[in-house]
Amino acid sequence: MIGGAVGKGAVTLRAGLDRAWIEFRQTATSVVELVSWLWIPLAALLIMYFVGDAPVPGTGVTLGAQAIPGILGMNVVFTALLGLAMALTADREDGTLLRAKATPHGMSAYLVGKVLSKAGMTVATVVILLIPTTFLFDGLQVDRVSSWVDLVLVLLLGLVATLPIGAVLGSLFSNVQTLGFITLFLMALVAVSGVFYPITALPGWLQLVGQMFPVYWLGLGLRSALLPDDLALAEIGGTWRGWEVVGVLGLWAVVGFMLAPVVLRRMARRESGSAVAARREQLMQRAA
């Protein structure tokens, strides 16, 4: 069939986009869901608003404003990485993935849809958080074009670094309960990633741990985008370390993209009606 391959590729992409748009709308129009994704960063912003009045010494930027990019970075990791991991685990549990497997091109379209809807949600939450903060906090550089260009670039890089890892974790963990450990781990990671507390104030080994993971680098990248340049002095090495941001997040992306197809394929291969039935049984027993 001439043009068949093209037609089929287009079907996968279009079905994926259709799924992404439907699911994005479902989340974005549900107050409950939005609150469930936004309450942590919103609470963090509120606390910063009330306690972060003091200016960073020698600058016109408040401590609160300085913390905002880090909170946004944390939000990216939670919404994209954890969001995708939770979605994959839950969809495996309830049979959504099995349906995809039973459909021609279903798995690839499912993944396209899921990744795009989570990416869309992440961007949406960042925008939702950013709008009030520009009014509430002094010193954010939102009136220059370069800030927005950098913001978009860091955000894209952050998504590319975190979504594949989310897909890997979502494939490895077979139920939502065990994913709770990932949440705990991420919380601990946030604590050593200079989100609420400057990383330079931590012991050296903890600084190293923090710098191994994307949370810190996303925060740093977003600070470089949104804060005046003289605040770079407060960072490790006294600069924004732009290349390192690209390098570390890029490395996570490469690792993620190498692992994700292998792990996803393995997960997809194992999906079957009896696997879903067994998980349902397990869940019913836990509930009882």
């Binding site: 068949g4 799924r19 439907i22 309830d94 049979g95 349906r99 039973a102 021609p104 009606g273 879903v276």
Partner: protein, 322 residues
């Protein structure tokens, strides 16, 4: 049409009932050290509705998952629509319909929205004589969900959800439909309802159906042909009527001799009883003669399989494959 790589081999209506849609030869499946399937043979022909009947744990789901391409077999030859399911591509998958037991997936989607979405995937696989996908509104009407077309799937009743499952299985207008334990957990009314839907569908379209069930009545009601699965092999194969006559040619004779109870399964009850009286005369008591029905035999077989007495194949049914 030439140059089309998807056409199902369904040129001639005379093919119906002859062209093999599923061929299973010496299928074996082993989990660890446990043999679940120990050499299954069967064929399903185009247009047939075939029930795989057996007790829980007999390997029905394993079999159907192998045929669906969801599980790798240990050994044997399997062809579904002329293709080994382990190597089925997307075009092959597009010709299969699988009715999954849903639970709560896609709970926030709307009925029509979900069917339209799944229909998309099948569009490149339509042929002039078999347009794909099904028209969503026709499909919704066919399974009786017209009023729920705009409803959230999570808000459907159990029975309605099950009809939606069937609709999703059918949306690609499959050549072959798999139904795995379709009515587990149904109340009697929902079950009857579901049977009507399946009967209507299989009558309307040129579609081959393989269903699994542990319910004999369901198999009798829906299937043209029943395969009874026990001990990892097909022990009986025939239409419900054929199986019933084959079985009812035997009768069960219960009696006692000097108070000792005896049971015999015999071909000619009259001759047996005559001989019994000739030999034992007045010592015979509590005489009872009963024709076995399909259910008796099936239940005995299930019991034997559960207690591990060989394959539990009653003699009446072996040799059913001809």
């Amino acid at each position: 049409m030439d140059g089309n790589d998807v056409p199902p081999p369904r040129a001639d209506p005379a093919d119906i009932g002859t062209a093999p849609i599923i061929e299973v030869h010496d299928l074996r499946m082993r989990y660890g050290t446990k043999d679940v399937l120990t050499g299954m043979h069967f064929t399903v022909r185009r247009g047939e509705v075939v029930a795989l009947l057996g007790p829980n744990g007999a390997g029905k789901s394993t079999t159907i998952e192998i045929l669906e391409g969801f599980r790798k077999r240990s050994a044997g030859r399997v062809e579904v629509l002329g293709v080994d399911p382990d190597h089925g591509d997307e075009a092959w998958r597009a010709r299969l319909g699988i009715v999954l037991q849903s639970w709560r997936d896609h709970g926030r989607w709307r009925v029509r929205q979900l069917l339209a979405h799944f229909g998309r995937y099948y569009r490149p696989y339509g042929t002039p004589d078999r347009p794909r996908p099904f028209d969503v509104d026709d499909l919704i009407a066919m399974v009786g969900l017209t009023e729920q077309g705009g409803s959230r799937i999570g808000a459907l009743s159990g029975g309605q959800r099950r009809r939606l499952d069937v609709a999703i299985g059918l949306v690609g207008r499959p050549d072959l439909l798999f139904l795995d334990e379709p009515t587990t957990g149904f109340d009697p009314e929902a079950r009857q309802d579901f049977h009507h839907v399946v009967q209507r569908l299989t009558a309307a379209d040129d579609m081959t159906v393989l269903l699994t069930t542990h319910d004999l009545h369901e198999a009798e009601k829906l299937a043209d042909r029943i395969l009874i699965l026990a001990g990892g092999v097909v022990v009986a194969d025939g239409s419900p009527a054929q199986l019933a006559t084959r079985v009812s040619s035997k009768a069960e004779v219960r009696y006692s001799i000097d108070g000792r109870p005896e049971v015999r399964s015999v071909d000619d009850a009259t001759a047996y009883v005559r001989e019994l009286f000739e030999r034992h005369g007045r010592a015979v008591g509590n005489l009872e003669i009963r024709r076995a029905n399909l259910e008796d035999v099936y239940l005995t077989m299930v019991r034997n399989a559960v207690t591990g007495q060989g394959t539990g194949v009653p003699r009446e049914l072996s040799g059913a494959k001809s």
